[in-house]
């Protein structure tokens, strides 16, 4: 492979910023310039820095170009011809305001430790040769020379815990499946990422599908399974396509199928499309769904390791967990276990979003602090506003505040703070987010997604949501906060599966840290963030109003009156509380 490469990001984020057209323009331009024939053009997976898309990296220099829209693609070629970087395409660091030349000089990448994502953005996911060139399938070759129990011991020694959220020790799961008795066994990859605010599995599958396959094949060998399924969200068309391509190529090269690499071990992998149900992320529900039923969970034990798909021993791991397996093999279990904290080993991928400067996908060692993630990697809060809270772990997780910024991020410390690793969604909020509204948002989600099988979850989430809606709607009653707390704890204690057992977390953690905000809503009928419409009113500050008429022009309700040179007035009776006047006023004269 030539070491001169132009890597154009082909992740979903960049494609939606038209990176495919950028790629086409580059291809056309390269064809016209024979002197650039050495450059190989590749359409890669996600670089993680989605907001800066389309992203391009020039190797071997590592020059990092951001926001290379199709009309700017020619400049890239001009730069190559001149042999210098194009200043105007370089990334501007939002903190220092300086342009940065190379990818590894960008603060967003500097504090990351990309082990699982090491190939994402640097290989063409649709070409197995790229994966092989970066030591792909070496772990499998090594594993096939080992005894299955030896592999299980390695996974145990590595300390890897499930990355889907629960954090169950992976090695123990593998061992139970290996020891279970059955004429047939299965391996399932849970790729039904349904958490709002999470896209790490999607990026991994799109950017490095073979790493997931390799982990699954090793798991099959170690546990004695011959069949594997990937249960994937139908909303991820690109990931589905790339997985199908990867499976076909792996079969052709002898890494999948009959008698893998002459070892006598055979393994197949099939794709199963999810049909849109959050609860199917729960393993027993997922199994029901593959069997063609409603995806409803059942009580455990028996655990799937003993009685799973079609009542046979089944190993279910999440995408990121499987992708960690080749890493354990390349580092060795001992070296792997030195990364992270005492109880949480290795790295974790987080999807960083919300009111921050750099959104994207990051991989960091366990034990890093939230402050480092939010302020060093994510570049701090957008628009110079104040940090208010961070929501971690999606609808199963909770909110953490300023006082937790120096908390080491690992499974156990998050749980003790009232949050949860979940699948790794991390949404940062500033003062313009209402915490009661946020809790209501998550409950709306979990209530809709509750499968309805067990009463505490079905009825409990409904009632919790009703109370929250009452509060945000301005009708909160004395005692509502206490009712939320006791009902929430009941739902946690009595629900059948993880969905119900974690659904009240967003409420309980926001009450725990933002009780005052709840009280203001209930007792004083005020929403300090100005989000809850029923509790927000708009008025014009006469001393700031320049009587320009902009607000009057934009008001859809015709609620604003005022003449030239006379401060305008909002009629609270007519006001629809849409907030357009607040956004449009150039003088900051509208108050919430």
């Amino acid at each position: 492979m030539s070491n001169k490469r132009i890597l154009v990001c082909g992740g979903t984020g960049c494609i939606s910023s038209k990176s495919r057209s950028t790629y086409d323009v580059l291809e056309e331009e390269l064809r016209r310039h024979d002197e650039l024939a050495e450059y190989q053009l590749a359409f890669t997976g996600c670089h993680g820095f989605c907001e800066q898309g389309p992203v391009i990296i020039i190797e071997p220099e590592g020059t990092f170009y951001a926001q290379v829209t199709p009309d700017k693609a020619k400049e890239v070629v001009t730069g190559l011809l001149k042999g210098e970087a194009v200043e105007g395409l370089l990334y501007v660091d939002p903190v220092s305001g300086c342009r940065v030349l190379r990818r590894d000089e960008i603060p967003f990448y500097q504090k990351q430790q990309r082990l699982v994502l090491k190939n994402c953005g640097l290989i063409d996911p649709e070409d197995i040769k790229d994966y092989l060139a970066r030591d792909g399938y070496k772990a499998l070759t090594l594993a096939l020379q080992m005894d299955g129990q030896h592999i299980v011991d390695w996974v145990k020694q590595s300390g890897l815990r499930g990355r889907g959220g629960g954090g169950f020790p992976t090695g123990i799961k593998w061992e139970s499946t290996r020891n279970a008795v059955g004429d047939k066994k299965y391996v399932i990859c849970n790729a039904d990422e349904g958490d709002p605010g999470a896209f790490m599995d999607r990026s991994l599958l799109e950017g490095d599908p073979h790493a997931v396959l390799e982990g699954m094949i090793i798991a099959g060998y170690a546990t004695g399974a011959r069949e594997g399924f990937i249960y994937i969200r139908a909303e991820y068309p690109l990931a589905v396509k790339r997985l199908a391509v990867a499976i076909e190529q792996a079969e052709k090269e002898g890494f999948l199928g009959e008698n893998i690499l002459g070892s006598g071990f055979s393994f197949t992998i099939r794709l199963k499309h999810g049909a849109g149900a959050f609860v199917c992320g729960e393993e027993t529900a997922l199994i029901n769904s593959i069997q063609g039923n409603r995806g409803m969970p059942r009580p455990r034990p028996p655990f799937p390791a003993v009685k799973g798909l079609w009542d046979r021993p089944t190993l279910i791991n999440n995408v990121e967990t499987f992708a960690n397996i080749p890493v354990i093999f390349s580092l060795g279990p001992h070296k792997y276990s030195q990364i992270g904290t005492e109880q949480s080993k290795g790295t974790k991928i987080f999807a960083l979003t919300g009111k921050i400067n750099n959104t994207g996908l990051v991989e960091v060692p366990m034990g890093i602090t939230l402050r480092e993630i939010i302020f060093d990697i994510a570049g701090g809060i957008r628009g110079g506003k104040e940090f208010k809270a961070v929501q971690i772990g999606g609808p199963s997780g909770g909110c953490l505040t300023e006082e937790h910024l120096d908390l080491p991020v690992d499974y156990d410390s998050l749980i003790s703070a009232g949050a949860m690793m979940g699948s790794g969604g991390l949404v940062v909020m500033d003062e313009s987010t209402c915490m009661v509204d946020l809790a209501r948002f998550f409950l709306t989600f979990t209530r809709t997604e509750s499968c309805g099988k067990c009463t505490p979850c079905r009825e409990g989430t409904k009632r919790l949501l009703e109370i929250l809606e009452r509060i945000t709607g301005g009708n909160g009653r004395e005692g509502d906060i206490e009712l939320l707390e006791s009902l929430g704890r009941n739902v946690i204690d009595t629900s059948l599966c993880g969905l119900g057992q974690s659904a009240p977390n967003p409420i309980l953690s926001t009450i725990r840290y933002f009780r005052k905000e709840y009280e203001l809503h209930v007792k004083h009928k005020v929403c300090p963030a100005g989000v809850c419409k029923a509790l927000t009113s708009y008025r014009v500050l006469a001393e700031k109003c320049k009587a320009c008429g902009i607000c009057k022009k934009h008001c859809p309700a015709g609620a604003i009156t005022g003449e030239k040179k006379v401060a305008h007035v909002i009629d609270p009776e007519k006001c629809a509380k849409c907030g357009i006047c607040f956004e449009k006023c150039p003088f900051g004269a509208i108050m919430k």
Binding site: G13, F199, A234, N293, G360
Partner: protein, 163 residues
Amino acid sequence: MQTLSDNLHAELEKLIAKYRTADGGLVPLLQEAQDLVGYLPREVMEKIAQGLDLSLAKVVGVATFYSQFHLHPRGKNIIRVCQGTACHVRGGLAVLEKFEEKLGIGRGGTTKDLQFTIESVACLGACGLAPVVMVNDDTHGKMSPEKIPELLASYKGDKPHEQ
């Protein structure tokens, strides 16, 4: 009432035959049948129940459990407006409301001319670009209410839209 054309009918029979003996074939069969017909009318579910030797209640039970299945006709262009956490904190609701206002339908609804269906989805997994909208298979990031009329115009009629 017979609503399927003979052609569709034959295709559906083929699909049923393909999944008749497959383990766990109901969900993928419903998915393919929906791709074929566009939605799942009662007639299709009855045929599937018969073909797989299941009760109609079981088939309808599965079809109504998953958000992917639709029991009513849908528009030519499916607009999915993300209401995930990142989109929520960056104004995804305002985008959804603008679509509803411009098309005069609520979420889940379809315009009378069968051009557009609006749906809200929990997460499209493109949070870095919040607020996000997906029209058919195209993802559009960094949306705002102001951009919506233009976006709708690009999908109207048979005009080819930019990929």
